[in-house]
Symmetry: C2
Subunit: 151 residues, 2 copies
DNA sequence: CTCAGTGCAAAGGATTTGCATGCCG
DNA sequence: CGGCATGCAAATCCTTTGCACTGAG
């Protein structure tokens, strides 16, 4: 249950800039701030949480920039148990991990899977996708349950 | 990639009735129709798809009854890649399975995992949850990618 | 009779978009 | 200078809710 390690901030910025550029987008100050905010946390954040942490950020800019970052593959949208969208850094900017989702409060917490199991899983998924004529981009694995705080 | 087998219709009705009763709810005609509709499909359906298949069903009744069925554990809400909620029968009324989600069209398709891998996965998840002080109710595993039709 | 279930229409709320302005390139 | 990014506020659209009616028990 060790939290995923975080790549160097510099690397994150460089990768983010590259992915944005590849998508024909700029790495603006606002977008940099969003990325920084997501680097500093160990779990996906809701828009509300992001707005609370970034002073002077317009709600529409948050949505718009997160959409841009998502299309560019810098950020990933996480769907939990409640109706709020949550965001985290995409693969390559964070270690591969999964989520514990509390069905009571909607909170989402990161966790990593035993590497051995992860490998077995990926191989099995590769087979399934191949058989189903499906081009896999990624997979997501979530645990639904009740967290300590809500129990 | 064999589709999950479907429990007998009679069993589904009996189980649904039991779970509803346990939750203090009735198994009305409308609810029976919803369950029947979900039994007849091999993938989660959106509200729109359900309304199209059930003639004379009010949108509000669909939402309301699906909410009741979800609380009673008869139906499960599936979140895909688009903004539409999808519904399928809950565990026990269908074989345990996972989803292939097309990021292009949002379509969701069911698939089952190699039992051996599934077992290893569940055991690993049990460990994680235990270590994280989290009471697990279930897990969900989705493959995100592009389906044949959209490729 | 009573009360939950149902339809219709209006309300709700997260997310998106139009438009004018400001800033980076 | 030109075009994209940003704020503000209005519009969207899935989903939920209020209310009156109907049907099951």
């Amino acid at each position: 249950m060790a939290p995923p390690t975080t790549p160097e901030l510099v690397d994150v910025h460089r990768t983010a800039a590259e992915r944005l550029q590849a998508d024909g987008q700029r790495f603006t100050g606002g977008r940099r701030t969003l990325v920084d905010t997501l680097v500093r946390t160990d779990r996906p954040l809701t828009i509300a949480e992001i707005l609370a942490r970034v002073d002077g950020l317009a709600q529409s800019s948050a949505y718009r920039n997160l959409a841009v970052l998502e299309r560019a593959g810098v950020v990933r949208r996480v769907v939990g148990a409640d109706e709020f969208a949550r965001f985290e850094l995409a693969e390559g900017l964070t270690e591969h991990h999964h989520h514990l989702i509390c069905s009571a409060c909607g909170q989402v917490v990161d966790f990593a899977l035993d590497p051995e199991v992860e490998v077995a899983l990926e191989s099995a998924l590769g087979r399934v996708a191949h058989d189903g004529g499906f081009t896999v981009e990624s997979h997501r694995l979530d645990l639904l349950g009740v967290c300590d705080a809500c129990a």
